[in-house]
């Protein structure tokens, strides 16, 4: 095995790596937006963007492992039924180990910085006159009330482009309050209030599904929510029966 053939075959591996990376990047760019629910809030834009960024960042690493494993399969598989002779007795290669450690650490730090930044944006409240909605989960329905209005409804209505603060609790067991179109999720715990924020930015309907197993009808604990214009929201509130 001369050095030149070695270089030639390594070139094959590099091409495989490049091709697989491109495939990974394309999947990263298009698959999340294609598969995930239609984005209806600022949080969901960030969620989909993070999905894209992480997939694109992981693509070269995963492609590298696949390319080298495929290369090893193609290049160094022993032919024949006899016992293969010993390979080169390479025990250490400080260069390779160090490079790998440095690359994986840099990637991890990048992911972490992205994550912490996104977390700050994601969980931060803008504090600009948020609409407060009290969410209560019980087996197996959600109910929503709007403090200051005496309105309590089994349907969720949200005004467009106004921040919402969900204050979530449960009456019987733990439920999971999740709006798949808005990228927000928090558990509804008995005796505790948990809070999440989001700003709906698209008109339309969405599903609210329970993500914590809550008994017999867990699969059917689904409620429809609506994002409507501020005007429609005011008139919807006024049309609701007032409860003391």
């Amino acid at each position: 095995m001369s050095t030149s053939t070695n270089k030639k075959s390594l070139k094959g591996m590099l091409w495989t790596w490049a091709a697989l990376t491109v495939v990974g990047v394309i999947i990263g760019l298009y698959a999340p937006a294609w598969i995930m629910p239609k984005s209806m809030s600022n949080n969901m834009h960030l969620t989909i963007l993070t999905m894209v960024v992480f997939t694109v960042a992981a693509a070269p690493v995963a492609a590298g492992v696949y390319a080298s494993a495929l290369f090893a399969l193609a290049r160094w598989t022993h032919k024949g039924d006899d016992v293969p002779s010993a390979g080169p007795a390479v025990r250490e290669n400080a260069m390779v180990v160090t490079t790998w450690l440095v690359v994986s650490t840099i990637l991890t730090v990048f992911l972490l910085i992205w994550g912490l930044g996104a977390l700050a944006v994601d969980n931060g409240s803008t504090g600009k006159n948020p609409l407060v909605v009290d969410v209560t989960g019980q087996q197996w329905v959600w109910s929503f009330s709007y403090p200051g209005t005496h309105v309590s409804s089994p349907d969720l209505y949200l005004p467009l482009n106004r921040e919402v603060e969900f204050r979530v609790t449960a009456l019987d067991v733990t439920h999971g309050f999740w709006i798949a179109n808005m990228g927000v999720q928090v558990d509804a715990n008995v005796g505790t209030i948990t809070t999440i924020h989001t700003t709906p930015d698209k008109l339309g309907v969405f599903d609210i599904r329970c993500t914590q197993f809550c008994g017999l009808n867990h699969a059917f604990m689904v409620t429809v929510g609506h994002v409507v214009t501020a005007q429609q929201f005011t008139s919807w509130l006024a049309s609701q029966p007032q409860r003391a």
Partner: protein, 621 residues
């Protein structure tokens, strides 16, 4: 060597044994049932029937009776009791207990020989996997189309919890059980484990726990997912008491096994077997055992507290009586995350071993391999709260836990480096163990990358509690650990039986399972991304296609596993003969005859170098 083998085959049953001559699995079952009845009877008559927790108290008593009777019936305490009354075991008694000359009947007894215990763990793993697999097929059949058709929701909810728990038990013992017992002591150059009777105790305790767990299906089941957290667990019937006791008993088994494993590795190594010369698999088993000793007591604790809440009306986890479910969730995940690595590390250690032997090269960067496994174990005890990002508990700790969780990708990345580095420029012998190892590499990348998404809180806020998470950890457990375990099975099977695992059937099984895993779990990722939560007994029509694909994929995995089962059974007596060292490896388990005789070595070997000197003799000579 042949004389030893002949002697082992023709060795007469020793004269000793005492009470053990009459005890086996059947007497254990009878003992368990009789004592369960006795404890039930006493509880039924003497406990206050008007108590709110009466039925739970009776159920808990019954389960204690079961395990006490099971232990007595298998003879777990015969030897200590004899020691107490001054009639300690004689050499003949110990030889009887080790199963000398008893043929296959020793597999159904309290046998101390580590190789017998290893085979018992193989059987145990297959039984648990089979039972869990049947439930998985039932779940996927129910989910093939939207709506509830095949089983009702109550039964379905029981299936998902018991499927999860059975599979977790199966995974915990899948590699460390069979091979941590059968080959690990020989690899160290030991005649047996440090505490052979404790070894048998840990196996039979596991059998007793599994019995309790399976019984939950008959007594109203567990209907709240395998994590069984309060307050939903408070709504469960007596199945929950059976479950809690099964877990407490199970943690006794893992703790006993873990201590025994560590003592064996630290104290029983033969002359010259320094820690730096240990086969890398032994490191994997030892680190996993140490992590298990740390993790499983939390499991025991959390189930004991749950049981106290249910029987004595304490309120550790009862929110409206001053307790909190978050305490339970914390304790549970303090166990639950390290447990993943208790499952993974023995498989990874075995794959390093197999990579070296099958590519005829030393393990690439042995130190990196040990450091990676140790680092992973160390980090894994600091990441538990990433399972609780969306619970609302301590949002301010989100950042720190995101940091520790993402750091996990560094030691995990080292595993790929060591595996690929070992294969690099080797002469790769494409036999069954190698094929399944490549499957592991392919799947473990997907498992790792999807884990990164989940470690990121803004993404986890979207993906937590969905089928995406389910698909992620199935890539870890089925795609990675199962592939590693089958690789290890194919690798060491010739040492157990003297025959190769059928290569053709093994390859058919590989392709069915490998393709099945991709179809099943890639489609499941899509279900989760689309917005389908976990533990759903039915779903909206938008999830129809991906669920159908998942079910078809799951059937393919089942077919693959059935072919593997067929290969294991048919090759046991009829497979191609393999000889004592079919892979021409250098570690000690291949230096002894097949099957290894009782106490393994006639003369304990002296070690002068590690077992990875492929190619180095040439250089020296």
């Amino acid at each position: 060597m042949t004389t030893t083998l002949e002697q082992a085959k023709t060795a007469a049953i020793p004269q000793g044994g005492g009470l053990h001559r009459r005890l086996n699995m059947a007497t254990a079952m009878i003992g368990g049932i009789v004592f369960a009845w006795l404890f039930w009877y006493l509880a039924h008559h003497f406990l206050d029937a008007t108590s709110r927790t009466y039925s739970d108290q009776v159920a808990a008593s019954l389960t204690i009776g079961w395990i006490v009777g099971f232990w007595l019936g298998i003879g777990a305490f015969v030897a200590p009791l004899r020691w107490l009354i001054g009639r300690d075991n004689t050499r003949a008694d110990d030889l009887y207990l080790a199963g000398q000359g008893q043929g296959t009947s020793r597999y159904w007894k309290f046998t101390t020989d580590h190789k017998v215990v290893g085979v018992q763990y193989i059987i145990m793993t297959m039984v648990l996997l089979g039972a869990g697999g049947i439930l998985a097929m039932a779940i996927r059949t129910e989910l093939i189309v939207p709506g509830n058709h095949f089983v009702n929701q109550q039964v379905y909810n029981g299936f998902i919890a018991v499927h999860g728990m059975l599979m977790i038990l199966a995974l915990i013992v899948m590699v460390a059980g069979p091979w941590g017992n059968f080959v690990m002591p020989i690899m160290c150059g030991a005649r047996d484990m440090a505490f052979p009777r404790l070894n048998a105790l840990s196996l039979w305790t596991l059998v007793g726990a599994a019995g309790l767990l399976l019984t939950t299906l008959a007594v109203g089941s567990l209907t709240m997912g395998w994590v069984v957290l309060a307050p939903i667990a408070d709504q469960a019937g007596v199945g929950m008491d059976f479950f809690a006791m099964a877990i407490i008993v199970f943690t006794v088994s893992t703790t006993v096994a873990g201590v025994n494993t560590i003592c064996t590795i630290l104290t029983m190594r033969t002359k010259g077997m320094t820690l730096a010369r240990l086969p890398i698999f032994v490191w994997g088993v030892m680190i996993a055992a140490a992590l298990g000793i740390y993790a499983f007591p939390f499991f025991s604790l959390v189930e004991a507290q749950t049981l106290m809440d249910r029987t004595f009306s304490t309120s550790f986890f009862v929110a409206n009586a001053g307790g909190t479910g978050w305490l339970q969730a914390n304790l549970f995940w303090l166990m639950g995350h390290p447990e993943v690595y208790v499952i993974l590390l023995p498989a990874v250690g075995a794959l390093f071993e197999i990579a070296a032997v099958m590519s005829r090269k030393p393990v690439f960067s042995y130190r990196t391999a040990v450091a990676g496994m140790t680092g992973l174990a160390g980090l894994s005890i600091l990441v538990w709260a990433h399972h609780m990002f969306t619970t609302g508990w301590a949002p301010t700790l989100g950042g720190p836990f995101m940091l520790t969780t993402e750091l996990i990708s560094i030691p995990t990345g080292l595993f790929f480096l060591v595996l690929i580095g070992t294969l690099w420029r080797g002469n790769i012998w494409m036999k069954l163990p190698t094929i399944w190892m490549f499957g592991f590499i392919a799947n473990f990348i997907i498992a790792g990358v999807t884990g990164i998404y989940l470690s990121d809180i803004p993404l986890d806020d979207q993906l937590h509690g969905t089928m995406f998470v389910t698909a992620h950890f199935h890539y870890v457990f089925v795609g990675s650990v199962l592939f590693g375990a089958v690789s290890a099975l194919a690798f060491w099977y010739p040492k157990v039986t003297g025959r190769f695992l059928n290569e053709f059937m093994g390859r058919i099984s590989f392709w069915l399972t490998f393709i099945g895993v991709q179809v099943t779990f890639l489609a499941m990722f899509a279900s989760g991304l689309r917005g389908m939560p976990r533990r759903y007994s039915s779903y909206a029509f938008i999830f129809e296609h991906t669920n159908f694909m998942t079910t078809i994929g799951a059937y393919t995995i089942m077919a693959g596993m059935l072919v593997l089962l067929g290969a294991v059974i048919t090759s046991w007596n009829k497979g191609e003969p393999a000889g004592p060292n079919p892979w021409h490896a250098n570690s000690l388990e291949w230096m002894v005859p097949t099957p290894p005789p009782l106490e393994n070595f006639e003369v304990l070997p002296v070690i002068t170098e590690d077992p990875y000197n492929y190619g180095e003799e040439l250089v020296r000579s």
